[in-house]
Amino acid sequence: MVNISPVVKAEGLIKKFNETVALDSVDLEINPGSIIGLLGPNGCGKSTLMRHMIGLYLPDKGSCTTYGCDAGKLTQKELSRIGYVHQEGELLGWMTVDQHIRYVGAFHSKWNTELENKYVKDSNLNRRSKVGTLSPGQRQKLSILLAIGHEPDFIILDEPASALDPVARARFLDLLMEIIQQEQKTILVSSHILSDVEKIIDHVIIMKDGKVVRNRSFDDLRDSYMRVKVTSLKDSLPEKLPFNGVLSCRQYNGQAVLILENPEVEKIKNQAESINSRIDFHPLPLEEIYTLAMEPGA
């Protein structure tokens, strides 16, 4: 069996800002080739975790390694394999778009000019515009290009689409799909636009109050919740339904809509038959799964 070393490995990672605990004993591994959605409410520690991965933050306790190297000691070798899009997109305002691209490109031995030209054209970036005068959306587009132009193996996207309009967001998603399909890239994306995220990810990490509360493959997570529609073949359903793991239940006119946790499909079918009813299964969208995970006591 081939032992694949993880791209990122965090063990007992703790980070505090004064009295606020930003990361509370975070343990996780990110394997090469995975596309991970890092989800959580504002201030739950997503950006802090990402900044540990690229070495901008250092842990108070525990460790965080990227490509086997302590993140605080990342060398050019590892850094050149990472692309990072920051939600605020700090750029050099006095340069033109073209000068900025060439400045960053000059530091990288492999800079994909073809990708650069295509991206600039697709995203309507004017090379002669001053970076300081770009709109937030345009700045974000430029940040994305600067993060992917050197063809990194590991792309970290911290709210990459927050300032993009719907069309630009769709193009950005297309670009991501292209990158994903071309080579085996590892992508970690944090976003509040979950409908976008669920189109690309294969793994989900959900954070809450500095802790990782879910860390599973997206398929597993999706299978662990199910919307079940129960329709009585007679007039009405019994008041108490026989299913386990019911998170919510709404009944009306001989029908019930339930959300079940860890549903066992065969067992549920049998139970439905026992109360003389028909049953339909519907997977939950990521947004609903996320909402459930965020509920107190979840």
């Binding site: 000691k73 920051h86 340069m95 400045y103």
Partner: protein, 442 residues
Amino acid sequence: MKPMTANLKILYQHKLLWMIHLSFISVSFAMALNHEIGANNSIVIGLMVMFFSYGSILGGTLSEIINKPFSFCLSDQVKENKKIILLIWLVLMGIFLFVFSRQLALNLKNNYLAFGLNTGIISFGYWIGIFFTTQRKLNIVPFFMPLIAIIFIFNNIGINIVDIIIATPVYQWIMLFICALLSFVIYLTSFNIGKLKRQRVEGIVKNKKVFISSVLPDAVSSPFLKLIKSNSNKKHTSHLWGQAYLMIGPLILVWKSALFNYFFWGCLILVPYSAGQGEFESIYLKIGVLILLSLCLGMAIPGKVFQSFLLFERKEYFQRRIIILLVNLIFLLCFISALNFISGLLWAGFDPVLWKLLIIPVIMLPFFSGIAVVANKLDSAGRVTLIVLGYVVMTGFSFWGCFVLATASILIDLVIIVSAIAVTWGFSFAVLYYDSIKKSLC
């Protein structure tokens, strides 16, 4: 409740004002005693600076508080503010008079003299503070105004006139362009972060007009980019050129205003200042100016980590900061040398900033860069402590400079200078290294 009472009640809920008043009482006693302890001119000047600063802090702070929206929910009471300012000034003078009346038995004539001079200075500071704050200028004037006052004392009439003509725009320029750097060390930052941020934004908007209209020519950017690329196998050289590009590019972009601000105004203020000063006391001032310039450039060291493009290892980030430190030092030495040279050409019988004093930036610039990094990480209380420490070091260093120049032999000079260089560079290296390698970068 009368409007005046209501206003004062709200005003004195601000702890800051109480703190300022308490410090004033101790200051006034020191002032009353200064002629009794046989103070020489240097001490008198030092005290004058302190009194002026006190007056302007009080005036500025007061003005700040009562001008804040919603601090006083009293409509149509515009005159009340003026009344309060006048009332507090009168009370201030009353306290002052009381303190002096307790000292009269010691030396009547000198005390009346000191009282007249010092109340004048405090009042001047007080009204300057109020004027500049209500004019919506960042109130760092107190830091610079004592220099003007001292120039008056030591310079001849001709030089004073030139200084008066140029002082106002020059100090305004200083406020606009370097106050952000100075602010971490100057007391007012701790009191008025909001105003400082507004000032920065105004500065950015002002600069943005230049940035929008001008583009760095490719003829300037291309050589740098080629040098970065051609040295990509030698990362350190590559980053050195990258840093040079980042430093020189913006300067070239605004070359007209840079040239005008840095050299034209700089020379105008400093040439008459440095000329015609042959007195021993003037060395104190020259050292002060050199320290001030070292402070400005030293504070520019921290540098920025651009999260959007991960170009630097931490070790390279540290090296980049050292490069900025060295470049700033070279720039400052060139500036002072040019000033000395121009002074020599323009003023007959001039006494320029002594060449020997050029060692001051070499010692102080790294010290301030280290302090700037430490200050960045501190809360308000920490910054105030640092400011006090900064004042002690700056004042101590100034007096030490005078002493060394006046008395010490070349050997002692050398030993002290080499030790000071080793200490401040060691301090700066240690702080920058620790901050770059061992601390979070954003």
